[in-house]
Symmetry: C2
Subunit: 245 residues, 2 copies
DNA sequence: CGCCCTCTTGAGGTTACTCAAATATGGTGG
DNA sequence: CCACCATATTTGAGTAACCTCAAGAGGGCG
């Protein structure tokens, strides 16, 4: 659907943060990226692993999750094309979470060595990657606030708002509609609710005329009201321009 | 109680991650730090602010919090001496959360300019500070997992485990006892529960012989069982040595 | 001594969970 | 193209965890 050159996706992303000079752009283009495809529901890295590479998501959706001793799962993040789900492993040797595909995915693996190399040479690229991890952290804070202090109905609206904005940034939203190949069980694990409750909350959002869904396609029928219901303020995404276009 | 030189605290912290060379140590010692004291319950920075400095916590406890539209508060992090609660503002211009003191505090403010300067000159210091923000993010993930998937009784045990380990790292635990000047309302905002429920959960932890408290002093009576109840694995804190000494 | 803040207790109500089963959907092979 | 299977969604009913409201009991400080 997109992502011709894996490096191109990354370059475009960094360009949205600051203007790269020619030298930086070429250094990024030279990064060795090993492209691999995954089926849905496969672990990419697991808690306890010590990866020697990070993965750039080129196509599809991934999630970051943790399990409790009781075997319950919490999804702490979804990632969309252009994101680097395990960038943290560049500086934290042992994974404290797992990363799995949600849909079929194309991933580009970049050796840590190459990333360290480019960071040592180009401080602005270091800053941009650091910034990426800071935005991830900001999203964690926002999700935590939702899980701790908002009801499930509002959390679901909030999540849909966030996905709509992030997918817009990478050109995956058309006519207020985007593909969301995420099951209700996965949505439940993300918002900290049961599958049954997510089902009821989604029905309520549909009944209230906020969204519509056909298969994996989700359409937002009333963006302003959905934002209001979700208590959604895109500030925490730290976008250049806000994604309301 | 500690922290003679503000810079000393930071140097000791970074030394626990990697060995600084003399030049790096001196550069850190030269960082301009403006020391200020705060009373309890005061905002240090607010959501929406665009700080030109970051603050190093020298004494006391601070928290990071967000508010929902309904006016409910979620505390997403506590910080202990040696932490830099708003280090993120070095690369994210607008604050997406507020930072407040929980107890009376001493803070050292360091201009972003000086931090950028030292980062440009010493890539290993950049890496260490980046790593700090990654550990913060790891803690967010763990808290989110707790709030989403563990019951309040277990979350409270988990939080006490975490504070015990982090305070041990900075020498603030003696005989399984530490000072915890955090009200039950604040604990409630941190674990995503009501004050009433926190009160009952604490009583249960005491009745179960896991902890004891006198005023703001908390003693851990059975570390192994508290860890088990809290489903606590210190992996996510990414310590050099585990804090079980 | 009295005030304010925090902690504690009780009671009733709500959100959301679990268990269980039925229905729909989508992909696959005959 | 259809039958079949696995997976996902939907529904119902009973239950548990937790919340809100309200009021009383410390406890530290001016």
């Amino acid at each position: 659907m997109m992502a011709h050159s894996p490096n191109g996706l990354m370059i475009r992303k960094l360009e949205s943060i600051f203007s790269l000079c020619e030298e930086e752009r070429q250094a990024l283009a030279r990064l060795p990226v090993q492209v691999t495809t995954f089926k849905a529901d496969q672990d990419v890295v697991r808690i306890g692993d010590r990866p020697s590479q990070s993965c750039l998501l080129l196509e599809g959706f991934t999630c970051v999750y943790k399990l409790t001793a009781e075997g319950k799962r919490q999804i702490v993040a979804f990632h969309v094309p252009g994101d680097i789900p395990d960038l943290q492993s560049l500086h934290l040797k042992v994974m404290d979470n797992s990363v799995a595909t949600v849909s079929a995915c194309t991933l580009g693996f970049i050796p840590h060595e190459a990333l360290h190399d480019i960071c040592n040479r180009y401080p602005r690229i270091t800053a941009a990657l650091w910034r990426e991890t800071l935005v991830d952290a900001s999203i964690f804070r926002e999700w935590m606030t939702g899980i701790g202090r908002r009801e499930a109905y509002h959390r679901m609206a909030h999540l849909l708002c966030e996905l709509r904005v992030r997918l817009t940034m990478v050109g995956l939203v058309k006519d207020q509609t985007f593909d969301l190949p995420i099951t209700q069980t996965e949505l439940a694990d993300a918002i900290g609710a049961s599958t049954v409750h997510v089902n009821r909350v989604l029905q309520e959002l549909r009944a209230d005329g906020l969204i519509r869904s056909k298969g994996t396609q989700v359409s937002i029928l009333d963006w302003e009201r959905l934002k209001a219901v979700g208590d959604f303020d895109p500030l925490y995404l730290h976008l250049r321009q806000d994604g309301n276009a």
